[in-house]
């Protein structure tokens, strides 16, 4: 439908502008931009972006609660440790469709890959704000190697996986700019990139958990477990599945006109299917968490206030959403599955915040006062979330993500 406008003038700049304004004349495009959502977004950015500037002008101390005892604040607790598992969308969807052969989930692959790519991109953005000298971020890859470090592995894998995901998403970009021949090449590597994606995801999702293996005295024993890499990996699978449900729900609701019938008509059925996979993984994950307590014989700790919090996490934020998903799947009701998926996503965020912030340094005096983030840091996080949503929407509005471009139907991948 974009192309109707393009027919009039085929000069290159006009074509380019048409791509950006989705084929509308500039004045109409500008008028359409004034929406309540966008106004709120601009206000948040107006406050948040200068605060990011402040970090690079006056130092991290002026904007975060990070201290010598608490080196990692919510910038990483939220941006990296919660953001990365929720970005497991790309590898779970690509594996399901291209490796395991569940072709009927094809309409959701690109949305999954895009969600994953954007998640990693923004995880890196949070990281660039947090680390001391961001222009040295490539040092682990090129200047000085620390192969005994789990973070060395994370750095390599996140960098590589970001590239892999860009390549996985590239067909959508190439279709958008009508680069038919390059797209052929991009499609050829789909399977190889998918396999690379699973390997990299297995390793760095679990490595994010393994990072905390270096802090046995600092992380509360109920959360510290030799199995923590397995917990992180397994939960990233259902986090990815539930996130695809959540993102597709929101996108199908607010950007309906950007989706085709194949997408919208199959969405409820596919949602139930994803919910089925997610609830199986969640049962496994719940069992693993219990085995973790049994392995270290920490049952006695459950009757402390930390124990109640642990139980709240695994019962109310793992088992309960898992049951909701199961009910939704049994009744074949996408609505219930969606509720369960949002609940499960919240649970993954809670688990990651528990490990990286809430239960880290639990035994230091004044712990719970020390971890409350200052308003400036909250605004930085809010503004990055806003930017994330805006760019995500920008792409969904323009590129064939929730629809298939009819011109390329005979050459699907």
């Amino acid at each position: 439908m974009n192309d109707n406008y393009l027919v009039k003038e085929e000069t290159y700049p006009a074509r380019f502008l048409g791509k950006l304004t989705m084929g509308m004349p500039l004045s109409e495009y500008a008028r359409k931009l004034v929406t309540p959502f966008n106004i709120v977004a601009v206000i948040i950015l107006f406050v948040g972006l200068p605060l990011i500037g402040l970090r690079f002008w006056k130092g991290l101390a002026t904007v975060t609660h990070a201290s010598n005892e608490y080196p990692w604040s919510i910038l990483l607790g939220w941006g990296l440790f919660s953001g990365v598992p929720l970005s497991g969308t790309g590898y779970v969807m690509a594996t399901a469709v291209y490796i395991f052969g569940f072709r009927k989930y094809h309409p959701l692959v690109r949305l999954g890959v895009l969600t994953g790519f954007m998640g990693y991109l923004f995880a890196v953005i949070y990281l660039l704000i947090d680390i001391g000298r961001p222009w040295r971020i490539y040092y682990p890859m090129a200047v000085s190697f620390g192969p005994t470090s789990v973070l060395f592995l994370v750095a390599w894998h996140v960098a590589t996986y970001l590239t892999v995901q860009l390549l996985e998403f590239s067909p959508a970009i190439l279709e958008w700019i009508h680069a038919r021949r390059t797209r052929k090449w991009a499609i050829l590597i789909t399977v190889a990139m998918t396999i690379a994606g699973v390997i990299l995801s297995t390793l760095h999702q679990s490595a994010l958990g393994a990072l905390f293996l270096m802090a046995p005295g600092k992380l509360h024993p109920l959360w510290y477990s030799a199995f923590i890499p397995v917990f992180f990996f397994v939960s990233s699978i259902y986090a990815g599945l539930c996130m695809v449900i959540a993102v597709s729900t929101v996108a199908a609701r607010y950007l309906k006109e950007k989706a085709d019938h194949a997408f919208l008509d199959s969405l409820d059925g596919l949602t139930v299917g994803l919910g089925k996979a997610a609830c199986i993984v969640m049962f496994v994950y719940f069992a693993l968490r219990m085995i973790g307590v049994a392995h270290d014989d920490h049952w006695a700790l459950l009757s402390s206030s930390y124990g109640y919090w642990f139980l709240a996490e695994v019962l109310l934020f793992v088992l309960l959403p898992c049951i909701v998903l199961t009910v939704g799947v049994k009744r074949n009701e996408a609505r219930i599955v969606r509720a369960g998926a949002f609940h499960a996503v919240a649970g993954v965020i809670l688990t990651r915040l528990n490990i990286s912030i809430l239960m880290f340094n639990w035994n230091l005096p004044g712990h719970f006062q020390a971890i409350v983030p200052p308003a400036r840091e909250v605004f930085i996080v809010l503004s990055i979330i806003t930017l994330h949503i805006l760019i995500f929407r920008w792409i969904l509005n323009r590129m064939p993500v929730m629809r298939e471009d009819p011109a390329y139907l005979e050459d699907r991948h």
Binding site: A66, G101, M214
Partner: protein, 314 residues
């Protein structure tokens, strides 16, 4: 790397291509790679055997702080500040009011002394000097993704800010909360911590704090010798000391050792640390990495092959 290249094949196995460019044939190339690679990664066979059971540098130095001797005069803080050319303190070093709250090493102080009430109730307050403990197998060094830390043969653990990008994982990994970070610096933040006066040690001197202590509470010497001294003191004065040398085994042991008259936990020493070096906890995970890298492609390739011809369901 030079040596094996010269020795390999004596040049006779080089082929001359038709276009006149010299090439190295495959066997020759592989031999060079194998020898050079082997030499680079393994060193001599004796080294390779030793690597598996690291017992630390021989003759490494250490420090012994006898907390029963410390009177809280803060001479060590002052000497450290001068020796390392650190910024002048906000309150002078003879000011006792700093003891009203617990302090920790910061970006402008490598070491601080804290005061504790004596739980034995004898009226004598206890003072504890805090600084980097210079672990035998340092967690900070194992955690650092850019190898900014070195355990020197002399004992001190040193930090190199030239490769650091400020991830602060070393601070997460340090069980003693020793490294401090320059959060105030916008563009050149770095880790700050005690160096055990490595330069002075190399030059044959002793660390500034040990040299400045009027009570002789800080002893500098070879770690093995310090352990003997500490054991002797405990044996001679069993009423004065608890029967434990802190740092002998904690997280694989530290260069800095402590004697105390009261249980170490009451002076905020971490007492929940494993005996083995903390890096051991990640070895299982890291050794699984190459397995995943090699097994996953094969298994996933198999899945792909098994499913590629499956009929499309919908």
């Amino acid at each position: 790397m030079e040596k094996p290249v010269k020795g390999a094949g004596g040049g006779s196995e080089r082929d001359r291509r038709e276009d006149g460019r010299t090439t190295v044939n495959r066997r020759d190339f592989l031999r060079v790679v194998a020898v050079a690679g082997g030499a680079a990664f393994l060193g001599t066979p004796a080294d390779a055997e030793a690597l598996h059971d690291l017992s630390g540098w021989p003759d490494r130095m250490g420090m012994l702080t006898d907390l029963t001797e410390c009177v809280g005069c803060r001479s060590c803080e002052s000497a450290c500040n001068a020796a390392n050319r650190l910024p002048a303190p906000e309150v002078p070093f003879d000011e006792k009011s700093v003891f009203e709250r617990k302090r920790r090493p910061t970006a402008s102080a490598y070491t601080v002394v804290n005061r504790y009430e004596n739980p034995k109730g004898q009226g004598n307050t206890i003072y504890r000097k805090v600084q980097c403990n210079h672990c035998e197998e340092p967690s900070c060094a194992s955690a650092c993704p850019v190898r900014a830390y070195t355990k020197t043969p002399e004992g001190p653990v040193l930090y190199n800010q030239d490769v650091c990008f400020g991830c602060r994982y070393c601070m997460v990994a340090c069980p003693y909360y020793a490294p401090a970070y320059d959060y105030e610096s916008a563009l050149e933040p770095r880790i700050v911590k005690c160096t055990m006066c490595h330069g002075r040690i190399k030059a044959g001197g002793i660390p500034a704090c040990a040299g400045s202590c009027p009570m002789g509470a800080i002893t500098f010497g070879k770690r093995e010798a310090l352990l003997k001294i500490a054991r002797n003191r405990i044996r001679k004065f069993p009423d004065r000391y608890v029967d434990r040398i802190y740092g002998e085994y904690e997280a694989g042991g530290t260069s800095w050792l402590y004697l105390s008259g009261v249980p170490f936990g009451e002076l905020d020493f971490p007492t929940n640390l494993p005996r083995k070096p903390i890096v051991e906890n990640t070895k299982g995970f890291l050794s699984a990495v190459p397995l995943v890298l090699t097994l996953w492609p094969a298994l996933l390739g198999l899945c792909y092959t098994a499913n590629r011809n499956k009929e499309e369901k919908g």
